[in-house]
Amino acid sequence: MSSPKQALAQPASSADAAPGEQPGAAGRAHGRGTPDPGRSSWRSRLYRWDMKASPYAFISPFFIVFGAFSLVPLLYTAWYSLHNVQLANLDSQTWAGLDNYRNLLSSDFFWNSLWVTFTVGVISTVPQLLMALGLAHLLNYKLRGSTVWRVVMLTPYATSVAAATLVFVLLYSWDGGMINWILDFFGIDPVNWRESDWGSKFAVSSIVIWRWTGYNALIYLAAMQAIPSDLYESASLDGANRWQQFRHVTIPQLRPTILFTVVVSTIGATQLFGEPLLFGGVSGSKGGSEHQYQTLGLYMYDQGWIIGNLGKASAIAWTMFLILLIIGVIQMLISRRLRKSQ
């Protein structure tokens, strides 16, 4: 009985072909003690090798995909950013050293897009997270049809950027858009949402807020429901009202979650691209006639694909990457601080 079993077991384990079976089999083999002295050295070597190699084999798909579609492009972009590369002439790359980066630092358009990314990031992320927190708090009460509300909250997130933005373009249309129509109701002059400086930033932010508030609210809600209810009970015994409970129980308990959403939203805000591009309509990559909503992402796209200067676009990509690293480090320091102070 034992030899056909081995014949089956060996090819299977050497090919790593039966995931899930191997660790169990190995464990059982060890548990059984010394089964067959004649073959034990070969088998134990095989099992040891199996124990060592299998985990790597199991996690390898992610790293292979990551390498092919993230790491290689990342390094290739770095290579590009040090060269003069034109979209129409990819094969003739000439060494440019740090010229592309120097070029960026001296370009008004770059600093403008950095400023736009920052301001739009702030006016979209801050209200979005605050509103999400409030909404999650409301949903945390016992509501009739709570599932319905939760699904409704997630629908904007499930809507495609393109569809949502096109609707917003119509809402914000200068001539005959609904928002200007409402403003007119209150006697306010129509705003040229697309071309005004702050109006356009506000409009783009509102699309982001609309899309992501529900998503963040659900994350907060999940964290809130994990807060033990005896904390609230003892707080209310101490005479804390709803607001005090929210401030002194909910918020401190949510701290790690809040930090997580801040990190994710910041990354999202730095890479903001689809909303402003589609909001701009024709030649949207310019981000308005004065680049008033040209984010870093749009600037990169405009340089690389519209103007065709891939070297410079790669330099922008790497600059964005570095900015994100810096933000990451700052956030790490803050979270460490917070943990220490607790």
Binding site: M1, A17, N89, S289, E290, G308, N309
Partner: protein
């Protein structure tokens, strides 16, 4: 017993993995079959060839039934069109695919603003079509645009964009202006400035909620298309800031932008389409391809209200070419199809469908717009108007970054003046700064 179940479970797992793997591999294999090798790839029709045509916007081949007709004439050919709506998305994609030598369609459309870039940087990626056709069929300047220095023709001309003015007769009447197309053409003949003057007159008695023209940029593009000089000289030097054509067009556009006569729309934008539907502007610079656009966007509400008059100056705006990439697996068949699609008879059929104007003069005598089109545009003799314009279009030279420079002038410079209340000088400076960035100076 226990061992045997374990063994068989293992076998099952092995089989499952094997099945999954083959499935995945088969998936990949199928993909590449679809993408690059069309020959015999599972279509079972005994040597049927699938040709793909890459276009942008609305070329009208499908709409005019040309693909079906060709497939009927050539039963062994199947045609698939891959349409990308916007040129600014289409062209970068084509550029990368051409250079990768893979993923291109068998026929690739090229817009006139990109043709110089194609001629100067991608000529070796396209089949020389000069040997395949009788070049004299096309307008000389059309051929010249797609011809390399050593005489290679990389694209066959499709349509051109001879200029006219489309105007709303009903709005003109309410504003107390002349409505007869011949008399109007006479009023603004020879000078876009006169057209602007008429706009001022219109605005004095403009029907409420309407403006004279859709945008300053459209006047700019129309006027620019009538000059002999654009952004580049024949030898490829950039002269955009000294070009006489640019200056004249800019000045006219500034007159429009700083007055109240523009509806301040951005062309090809959603609100612009709505402007057509709601009739919020009375005129639009009207290259032939615009006729089809108005038909679609203005719809029933504009029927019989639009009319067409000759433009102040003969001008060209837009037009395209069809090229066959050397990466095509079916070059012979693709060349045949490109030749057929751009032949005078077929161009005439596209004109009948959506008024895209042929680049082959021999078709002009046979052109007949669809009855519905003529009726829609108040029985205007559009064939006559566009042919007259086409015959006197000046030869223009395009440059590598023509499109990017044009965008900087219209969507940065003019837009700032028109919508943000900047002065013309400020607008010009902003455009200049942008163009400097575009050219990497």
């Amino acid at each position: 017993m226990r061992t045997s179940t374990r063994g068989s479970r293992r076998l099952m797992a092995l089989a499952a993995v094997a099945a999954l793997t083959t499935g995945l591999l088969a998936g990949c294999a199928e993909d590449s079959d679809d993408g690059s090798t069309n020959e015999g790839g599972g279509n079972g029709g005994g040597g049927r060839t699938t040709l793909t045509v890459g276009t942008f916007g609305t070329f009208g081949y499908k709409q005019a039934g040309l693909y079906d007709e060709y497939m009927k004439l050539n039963p062994d050919i199947t045609i698939k069109e891959n349409v990308t709506t916007r040129t600014d998305v289409y062209w970068p994609k084509v550029l990368t695919r051409l250079q990768a030598g893979a993923g291109t369609d068998d026929i690739q459309a090229i817009e006139v603003m990109n043709i110089t870039e194609a001629v100067q940087t991608q000529a070796d990626k396209f089949v020389d079509l000069g040997k395949e056709v009788d070049k004299s069929q096309w307008l000389d300047w059309k051929n010249a645009q797609a011809t390399t220095e050593d005489g290679k023709l990389i694209g066959l001309g499709t349509d051109i964009g001879p200029m006219a003015i489309c105007y709303r007769k009903d709005l003109f009447e309410k504003a107390g202006l002349e409505t007869d197309r011949a008399k109007l053409a006479e009023q603004w003949k020879g000078d876009w400035g006169k057209y602007v003057d008429l706009g001022k007159q219109y605005m004095k008695k403009a029907p409420s909620g309407t403006k004279f023209v859709d945008s300053a940029s459209s006047v700019y593009n129309a006027a620019l298309g009538g000059g002999t000089e654009r952004y580049y000289e024949k030898d490829g030097t950039v002269v955009w800031d000294e070009s006489d054509g640019v200056k004249k067009a800019w000045d006219v556009a500034m007159e429009v932008a700083t007055s109240d006569m523009s509806a301040k729309l951005k062309q090809f934008d959603k609100p612009w389409d709505q402007g057509y539907a709601n009739g919020t502007f009375a005129t639009v610079a009207c290259p032939a391809w615009m006729i089809g656009y108005i038909l679609e966007k203005s719809g029933d509400s504009g029927k019989g209200k639009w009319d067409v008059a000759a433009a102040p100056t003969a001008a060209n705006w837009g037009g395209s070419f069809l090229g066959v990439p050397t990466a095509s697996k079916h070059q012979k068949e693709a060349i045949a199809l490109a030749k057929w699609l751009t032949a005078p008879e077929q161009q005439a059929k596209v004109f009948a469908k959506q008024a895209s104007f042929p680049s082959t003069p021999s078709a002009y005598s046979t052109l007949k717009p669809a009855a519905a089109t003529t009726e829609y545009f108040s029985n205007a003799p559009i064939t006559q108007i566009f042919s007259d314009s086409a015959k006197t279009i000046p030869t223009q030279y395009f440059g590598i970054k023509d499109q990017a420079i044009n965008t900087a002038l219209t969507d940065i410079g003019i837009l700032q003046v028109e919508q943000k209340g900047k002065s013309p000088d400020q607008g010009w400076d902003a455009a200049a700064k942008e163009i400097k960035d575009v050219l990497g100076q």
